[in-house]
Symmetry: C2
Subunit: 232 residues, 2 copies
């Protein structure tokens, strides 16, 4: 009844252009550092377009995050469903659970390389944004999947106390976010991260994912209570 392609294509054009431009500029300059004027200019849209399509700048911010976060967590849930169905009553291997958590975040399915990388940087910053609404959105989106992944990890490493696992998941979050951020910056400038450290050559996603899984798996399996190093 309503021909979508012509009718809404134009609409979704500027709407999508705004989302793309905002995602890039938010990643580059921060949420407050990127102005509505910059964004609309980059999107070749009118100044009022943001307020028309998203109400306020905060609405645009939420839309930017929501667009990417939703498919990531849906994919995580789907992957976990498949794995757990196959495994039956047996616990999943630790590496598989880590793969469920990390792969969708790294792959940024359904987005172009450029966009995905912009959002990677944005994503790495999401947990420390001073924007309360963004914080809430992320927690809402992550709530379900984190509970399930936490449970799966507890079964994968049954000897680890739950409180210990809490911290190790926290470490995992940090590693992943920082690494993805670092990785996504290499395109523009490989030297912007850790000064004095050797610069790696290979940068493909699969290798980064594998390295993250290796590292996190070993860290999570680590025996707690290593004797103190004795140096204060």
């Amino acid at each position: 009844m309503v021909p979508l392609p012509p009718g809404q294509a134009v609409t979704e054009d500027t709407r999508g252009a705004l989302l793309d431009a905002a995602e890039r500029l938010f990643a580059e300059n921060g949420l407050e550092g990127a102005s509505v004027r910059e964004i609309t200019k980059a999107a070749k849209a009118n100044l009022g377009a943001v307020n028309y399509h998203f109400g306020t700048k905060d609405g645009l911010i939420l839309a930017v995050f929501s667009r990417r976060l939703k498919p990531i967590n849906e994919r995580r849930i789907a992957m976990l469903d498949t794995l757990e169905a196959k495994a039956g009553s047996q616990p999943l291997p630790l590496e598989s659970v880590l793969n469920v958590f990390l792969r969708p975040m790294i792959e940024q399915q359904g987005s172009s390389l450029q966009d995905g990388q912009s959002f990677s940087r944005l994503m790495s910053r999401v947990f420390q944004e001073p924007n309360a609404q963004v914080e809430q959105l992320v927690y809402d989106q992550f709530g379900t999947i984190v509970k399930r992944i936490n449970a799966a990890l507890l079964r994968a490493v049954p000897d680890l106390p739950p409180e210990e696992l809490f911290w190790r998941i926290s470490f995992l979050f940090g590693s992943a976010n920082h690494a993805i951020d670092a990785w996504s910056r290499f395109e523009t400038n490989p030297f912007t991260h850790i000064p004095g450290a050797p610069v790696p050559r290979t940068l493909d996603r699969e290798a980064l994912l594998q390295r993250l899984i290796d590292y996190a798996a070993a860290g999570i399996r680590a025996t707690a209570g290593t004797p103190p190093t004795g140096i204060s």
Copy 2:
């Protein structure tokens, strides 16, 4: 010739109050989210005080970071000097090197508890700040110590390829920043970080440091090239 205590005490009073207030507000609202007006008001200083003492707002930002970063890295260098002198030609244990890197950052020596925690949050954000000058400052401050720690780590785990070590240091950075940030938030709200995960009870610095070292040591020692998990 010039009696410092009376003459400059007043000066350093508002200067210090500005630094303290700025540190707290930068951590809470971000570098751009905290205005000069807020900061001067919180510091009970005049609006023009920031421009008088630091030239510009950017000058204040740099001063805030510099004040904390400098002693942290000086302590790291001192600790490493001591350890390497004692060890002679022998490589340092991995845990000791990690301790050198992590302890000064966590202890925030010479600052009050409140201030230290504010800066912890600020610190965790420092690597992804869109402020080019802050970025440069951090790299300058970190350059020397990262080179030395990198070398010490290479000796501690001689079988690890340097390129592999690069990524694992990157993971270590991320873990530490995120964990310190999460840890510093527990005072105000223990539930603000990972939704659905169990909330830990103990929160003392030493325990966090030990957990970080355990986790990172295991991750860094991990053998690379674990077979793929086989799940796409």
